[in-house]
């Protein structure tokens, strides 16, 4: 062949030349392949590929992942099947990761690909992608039971139903139900529930008495404060209402009174001595209890209090109340489209700056006490509700919204609908129905991010 080009070479020279030529070309060829591979690899590595984070147990589909077509092919995805995901690769070469992740953590996904010029037997290329799977937030909350050895122990949950049987005339009469559930923020650390409630129906005179209290999170014995507040206030109202003919007469007289103002004043005075005093005695009872605990001050028992007494007359319902602190207490009438707040929630300019029953200034004078008392005569209503801020904050947001009837309609519906997406059934408000209390308790376990306070609600309906 060399002769054809007029090259005269010995056999040995020819042999050497061919060897030299082949080796040179082979090296060139290798370099060419390597260049081709490197160009594609660099292009792929410089792609701004990102896939969003997943959440454990939640269905997930990643953003489309696209490598340069033609230049790359034969994709294989590694590192996702053990997470519960599968790669979906379309005919167009676009890759999606799909599935429901079963593991949380930081992972690396490897996309292996062949490239233009790849020859069987050669290693394929790969691009690594970081991939984060968040834990299911609900898995992170622990539920550590409160130690029964803790001073002033109380159960982490409580609920009660008070059946008021059908009256002599055969008409159904309103019942009361209440539930109280320790917040997740407390459950997380095995801390006790600070909320409390108490319900009482007096069959001899048909008065209903309800109390709900929220022990301050920052006060170390507030769980006892809320309990004493409810117990003492209800106890006092019960004893006073045993002998309340004069009071009831004034309520009746108000209906017919020509001088409404005078009649109102007469009732106000009685509400003051009855409900106002109940709150004051609760305040004093907490002071007494604090003396029994070494080194404690009344403010270590800081608690809010919502107290309502209620009775049905021929002309409607009489409701009197006392309210100090945050939360919500209101009479809701669905059909009449009305909401009557039984006071003003004591929330300062900043959230959390509430007033407490344990503060002496709450009882400093007549005006201070009266400003927290209310009485109303209303037609029949859907529900009288008392709730701590663990319920009202997530359900209403701010105090301004407590005056918004639409919000109450929504709230009442939420109570009955439950939270189907979280498997929490609704509450059935039917007459003489004991199991309503368990429904209400399980309803209180609703999930709203950032809302994990103790929750207590009492309802007369």
């Amino acid at each position: 062949m060399l002769a054809k080009y007029a090259i005269s070479a010995s056999e040995a020279e020819t042999e050497d030349f061919i060897q030299w030529m082949l080796l040179n070309s082979w090296t060139n060829y290798q370099d060419h392949c390597m260049d081709q591979r490197t160009i594609i690899e660099n292009e792929v590595n410089s792609l701004p590929l990102k896939i969003s984070n997943a959440i454990k147990d939640k269905p997930y589909t990643s953003e489309p992942i696209q490598l340069p077509p033609i230049k790359t092919y034969g994709y294989q995805i590694e590192g996702i099947e053990e997470l519960g995901l599968i790669p979906v690769i379309g005919a167009d070469g676009i890759i999606y990761l799909q599935g429901t992740p079963t593991k949380a953590g930081d992972f690396t996904i490897t996309i292996k690909y062949k490239y233009d010029g790849w020859i069987p037997g050669r290693p394929v290329l790969e691009r690594k992608l970081p991939f984060a799977v968040n834990p299911n937030p609900r898995d992170l909350w622990k539920n550590i039971p409160t130690s029964q050895d803790v001073v002033y122990y109380k159960p982490d949950q409580d609920c009660e139903y008070v059946t008021v049987p059908t009256g002599a005339d055969g008409s159904p009469r309103k019942d009361m139900v209440a539930a109280s559930n320790r917040g997740r923020s407390h459950a997380q650390e095995g801390k006790p529930r600070d909320d409390h409630f108490q319900l009482l129906y007096c069959p001899e005179n048909e008065w209903y008495i309800m109390a709900v209290a929220d022990g301050a999170g920052s006060a170390k014995y507030s769980r006892k404060g809320s309990e004493v507040a409810c117990r003492k206030a209800v106890e006092f109202c019960q004893s006073k209402l045993k002998d309340a003919q004069a009071f009831e007469a004034k309520i009746r007289a108000y209906q017919e009174a020509e001088d409404k103002e005078a009649a109102q004043k007469a009732i106000s005075n009685d509400v003051y001595t009855l409900v106002g005093n109940a709150a004051f005695l609760a305040h004093k009872a907490i002071n007494e209890v604090s003396k029994g605990m070494e080194g404690a001050k009344p403010k270590d028992f800081a608690t809010t209090l919502m107290l309502a007494i209620c009775k049905k007359f021929d002309f409607g319902w009489f409701i009197a109340s006392y309210w100090v602190g945050d939360g919500a207490m209101a009479v809701y009438s669905k059909d009449a489209n009305t909401i009557k707040l039984l006071g003003i929630p004591d929330e300062g300019e900043y959230s959390g700056q509430t007033r407490f029953l344990t503060m002496p200034e709450i009882f400093q004078d007549h005006v201070a006490i009266s400003s927290r008392l209310r009485f109303h005569i209303v037609d029949d209503f859907t529900a009288l509700m008392l709730m701590t801020d663990g319920v009202s904050d997530p359900m209403f947001g701010t105090d301004v919204n407590l005056n918004d009837i639409e919000r109450w309609h929504r709230f009442w519906k939420t109570l009955q609908d439950g939270f189907p997406e979280d498997g929490i059934p609704g509450v059935v408000f039917a007459d003489d129905r004991e199991q309503t209390k368990y429904e209400l308790l399980s309803w209180l376990d609703f999930w709203i991010p950032g809302e994990h306070d103790d929750r207590t609600i009492a309802i007369l309906y």
Binding site: N53, P135, P137, L140, G217, Y350, G352, T398, H452
Partner: protein
């Protein structure tokens, strides 16, 4: 929901090149991984990354922990801390929800500033804008001997210093930041009020010195 905004202002000037910047990247990664497994922080804390070198830029807008993705962080150029403070002020205006009668706004932001040098720009304007905004807690960290704690003291009374800007020390600073964000997320929710002083943060590790 009331978010707890957390702003990280990170010095990415040329002097951070190499080990320090790698440690910072790793620190951010560890911070986010840790916060993801904290139920309070996962729900409440939102994170933004602002870097400053020859310019200040927000690499990650305020993002919930669950969606946070590690940004590209590189070191080069000078140290425009003043511009970073100004950018922070603007971003707080845009991103942090204020409380109104109908809606409770976000908690006051926590800010962690980390720098290894002296600002190369005039910080007065940025400082002025920064001071007009309300923050829950601002911690400034002087990483290594090159940083000037006196400048940082003008920004906040909470100044800490790291003796060296090596990986182990930077790592422990980020661990402390992550413990602080966890504590903050829990505190705002439990106590229902903003963070305000260094004493409310977990005690810093031995590598992180409080500058008095």
């Amino acid at each position: 929901m009331r978010r707890l905004p957390v702003y990280l202002l990170l010095d990415t000037s040329g002097s951070m090149y190499g080990e320090p910047i790698e440690a910072v990247k790793n620190g951010v990664q560890v911070l986010v991984s840790t916060l993801r497994s904290d139920p309070y922080a996962l729900e409440t804390a939102h994170l933004s990354i602002i870097t400053f070198d020859s310019t200040a830029q927000q690499l990650t807008p305020l993002t919930e922990i669950a969606s946070f993705q590690q940004p590209q962080i590189q070191a080069s150029g000078c140290t425009v801390l003043g511009e970073a403070l100004n950018l922070l002020a603007q971003k707080v205006d845009q991103e942090v929800t204020k409380t109104t009668a109908e809606k409770k706004g976000d908690w006051k932001p926590l800010v962690f500033i980390m720098t290894d040098g002296v600002p190369t720009d005039d910080i007065r304007h940025g400082l002025e804008e920064f001071r007009k905004r309300k923050f829950g807690m601002v911690v400034a960290c002087a990483a290594g001997q090159g940083a000037d704690t006196n400048v940082l003291k003008q920004i906040t009374e909470c100044v800490v210093s790291l003796d060296t800007a090596d990986s182990a020390t930077i790592k422990s600073f980020f661990k402390w930041v992550s413990a602080s964000v966890s504590a903050g997320s829990m505190k705002v929710e439990e106590a229902g009020r903003d963070m305000g002083s260094l004493s409310e943060l977990p005690p810093p590790p031995p590598e992180v010195n409080i500058v008095v």
